[in-house]
């Protein structure tokens, strides 16, 4: 029964969104459905928080491998949630200086701002920067010219890697820039040709393919054939 209601809600919402684009009196349906989505998403956030607590508390109590990571996750989650909700360290706003909670949650100097500035920002930046080291290691060990296709890939990678830096300009500076029939061979131009011709063609094909797939999946959801979004045991699968 509950699954039938969920499928009905999804179908009605999807059909309303589609019709709002084609039938003028139904234009407001799009906004209404978007507001429903916001309300549902807010509830989902609470459920997500509860799920995170449950999973990590279970992992800690079981003392399985890596339970310490769960403890750190829980501690960070609760600390961030706590200082954000209580506005720890936030100065009152200019308009309401007598009310401690009147300041903005993420105001400079507050505990949440401090966590963002000195914990989240450097940690995420460091993780992103570390990719350079792992990519370099992978380039040495895995990027092998084992066949013709791999050789083409390697050649393209070299052109784009060098063409996107000043090295490309230096290496092929001997090719005259004012002769169009040869200037395209300069690495910086060749790199641009690869991006604008081959990359564009490949990406367009993928975008069109994905769009057709999304449309097909959308129709299946609208008519109730695809219930995979309801999770395991939906009884519908792909219809």
């Amino acid at each position: 029964m509950s699954r039938s209601v969920a499928v009905l809600v999804a179908s009605v919402a999807a059909i309303a969104m589609v019709l709002s684009k084609f039938i003028v009196p139904m234009e407001s349906a799009e906004t209404t459905v978007a507001e429903w989505f916001n309300a549902a998403a807010a509830i989902a956030f609470v459920l997500g928080g509860a799920s995170l607590l449950k999973m990590n508390l279970l992992a800690i109590s079981a003392r399985g491998p890596g339970w310490g990571y769960s403890a750190v996750t829980l501690l960070a989650f609760l600390a961030t949630l706590g200082v954000g909700l209580l506005k720890v360290g936030v100065a009152p706003s200019v308009a309401y200086p007598g009310h401690r909670m009147s300041g903005s949650t993420d105001a400079e100097g507050g505990a949440l701002w401090w966590l963002y500035e000195y914990a989240m920002s450097p940690i995420t930046g460091t993780l992103f920067a570390m990719l350079a080291f792992y990519v370099a290691s992978a380039a040495f060990r895995a990027f092998r010219a084992k066949n013709a296709a791999a050789m083409f890939l390697l050649g393209t990678a070299f052109i784009v890697l060098l063409g996107r830096t000043y090295a490309g300009v230096v290496v092929t500076s001997w090719i005259p820039a004012d002769m169009p029939w040869v200037s395209w061979l300069r690495l910086e131009n060749l790199s641009a040709v690869i991006m604008s011709v081959f990359t564009t063609a490949g990406t367009r094909a993928m975008i069109i393919g994905i769009a057709i797939g999304v449309a097909a999946t959308g129709i299946k959801i609208m008519i109730g054939l695809d219930r995979s979004y309801l999770g395991a045991g939906s009884g519908g699968g792909n219809g």
Binding site: W113, G125, F143, T165, Y166, T199
Partner: protein, 280 residues
């Protein structure tokens, strides 16, 4: 596999090289140019590509006082690549006297706006909040209220500096469509990470007037803005904070050259060992 009386050969030693040597090489390849740029202040000249020139022209051609919506759809993880881009575009808007409406589609993007505006407007007390610029921040499912703005089509230019979903692609799908903007097309400029740029290139030049791809695109844009500043005032001194993207091209150059060298070296080892196996 061992040769020379059980001793591993040079190729074999290279093949089994501890990856920490590669990490060290990458560290030196990036750190040394950063130090060099920091000490000398020198940067490489840039030759702007048509996509970057298109972005620059889209901002530059607007009359002073034009309304520009700048959406900074990224967080600290990609700030290294996108922050100089956001700074250069906002600075260009300020130099041209455009009114800026800043916002973000990312919950963690609010401080990105604060930092950018502080960098650009820190020494511009004449720029009044609420008159020349406004910060809508991140607003889940809501819109800000502004005088004279009833919809996206009331802006003269839309800019998105984005690191993924939701970002430039979604701005094309939901805002640049002619069904939303009406007879007056909304000009759109996007800046994105190197990983995301190939997904945006098909939208140039029809849906997007210009694209800034990765730190290279940011450096080219920064170069154009700084050249315009020097052209207006030959004695102008451009602070280092407005050359961040250009300063990052030197470490990028050596990083890329090292990557190419490692790929070549890896293949030399691969071919050498395979040839030896075939002969054995």
């Amino acid at each position: 596999m061992a040769s020379h009386g059980g001793q591993p050969s040079f190729l074999e030693r290279l093949d089994r090289m501890d990856r920490r040597w590669i990490f060290l090489a990458m560290f030196v390849a990036v750190a040394a140019p950063i130090l060099w740029v920091g000490v000398t202040g020198k940067t490489f000249p840039e030759a702007p590509t048509p996509a970057v020139q298109g972005a620059f022209d889209a901002v530059d051609s607007l009359p002073p006082g034009a309304r520009v919506l700048v959406s900074m759809d990224f967080d600290p993880a990609s700030a290294g690549e996108l922050q100089p881009m956001a700074t250069a575009i906002v600075r260009h808007c300020v130099l041209r006297g455009h009114r800026i409406c800043a916002m973000t589609l990312w919950p963690a993007g609010g401080p990105m706006i604060d930092g950018t505006m502080q960098d650009v407007l820190g020494d511009r007390p004449d720029w009044k909040y609420g008159e020349q610029w406004v910060n809508l921040g991140y607003r889940a499912g809501f819109e800000g209220l502004m005088k004279g703005i009833e919809g996206i089509a009331d802006f003269d230019l839309l800019v998105s500096v984005s690191a993924g979903y939701a970002g430039a692609k979604e701005w094309v799908q939901y805002s640049v469509s002619p069904t939303l903007t009406g007879p007056r097309p909304l000009r759109f400029v996007a800046g994105s990470t190197g990983v995301q740029t190939p997904q945006l290139i098909p939208y140039y030049p029809n849906q997007m007037a210009g694209i800034l791809g990765a730190i290279k695109g940011a450096a080219e844009y920064e170069f154009l803005v700084n050249e315009a500043v020097r052209k207006a005032d030959p004695n102008a001194v451009v602070p280092a904070k407005f050359q961040e993207a250009q300063r990052r091209m030197a470490p990028q150059l050596f990083g890329h050259v090292l990557m190419v060298a490692l790929i070549v070296l890896g293949n030399v080892v691969f071919v050498g060992l395979r040839g030896r196996e075939a002969r054995a």
